[in-house]
């Protein structure tokens, strides 16, 4: 595709490194004139996915690999770890996670994937015992 640009980033699993990924995403989205809200949403989705990789993947190399693909009308982000993977059971049960709170609908966990799914246009999770790749796309909305 013309005007398609690829950016690759590898960050260590370490607190706040997800911001490097989020900022890279924001530069690309702003370059293509995504609106302010979309830029913020993209950053949040990247942050949550990177934090999940750090918290849950148990990856030995402790690296998160991020591929950004930006065209004039969309940003695709693919975030990969080489960890233990997510089981289908976990994915199905995401909504039930978290210890109960005073208010039963205020859950403490299981929020990352919900945020990503709510904010991005397409979310695909591929997982095996060799690792996990979470891919999502944000389409540019006409002004």
């Amino acid at each position: 595709m013309s005007n398609e640009h690829k950016v690759l980033l590898t960050i260590p699993m370490y607190p706040d490194m997800e911001l490097a990924a989020a900022k890279t995403g924001s530069v690309l989205a702003e370059l293509k004139d995504f609106n302010e809200e979309a830029v913020e949403e993209i950053q949040l989705a990247i942050i949550e996915t990177c934090i999940n990789a750090s918290e849950h993947s148990q990856s030995e190399d402790k690296e998160v690999h991020i591929q950004f693909l930006v065209t004039d009308d969309r940003l695709e982000v693919k975030i990969t770890d080489r960890g233990v993977g997510i089981t289908a059971d976990t994915l199905d049960g995401t909504r039930l996670l978290g210890r109960p709170t005073i208010h039963p609908d205020l859950r403490k966990r299981g929020r990352g994937l919900q945020i990503i799914r709510a904010l991005m246009d397409e979310v695909v999770i591929e997982s095996s015992p060799n690792g996990t790749t979470v891919s999502f796309t944000k389409k540019k909305t006409p002004p």
Binding site: L19, E40, L44, I51, T101, H103, R109, R111, I115
Partner: protein
């Protein structure tokens, strides 16, 4: 840019406003929770959290906000937020936070509605 993390407190007789600056992650969240718990211990249960200078909140930050809501519910207190971006407000509604805490455009109205 990564704003410097910071927490400001403005205490009045009946209420207190906590203002955060920077990425609301576990580090800033814990600082925030500590300040909020200290205020609640002191009997100040009418709180406003001003997030105007916090552009990014991660899900750990959100968990901590929920803990503050719980602590206030136990004491029959009130929590109002202000300074949210459109996306933050949307996330707070999605997370049911908006059911247990008020969301107001500015600090004045957040205080007035405690």
């Amino acid at each position: 840019m990564l704003d410097k993390l910071d927490i400001q407190i403005r205490e009045a007789k009946e209420h207190a406003v906590i203002e955060t600056t920077g990425y609301l992650n576990d580090a800033l969240g814990e600082q925030l929770a500590e300040k909020a718990q200290a205020l609640i211990q002191d009997g100040c249960t009418q709180l406003v959290i001003n997030l105007e200078k916090t552009t990014l909140i991660n899900s750990i930050g959100i968990s901590i906000l929920i803990e503050i809501i719980e602590a206030l519910t136990e004491r029959e207190g009130t929590l109002n937020f202000c300074g949210l971006s459109a996306t933050q407000e949307r996330t707070f509604r999605m997370m049911a936070i908006a059911k247990y805490a008020g969301i107001f455009p500015d600090e004045e109205s957040a205080i007035a509605n405690l």
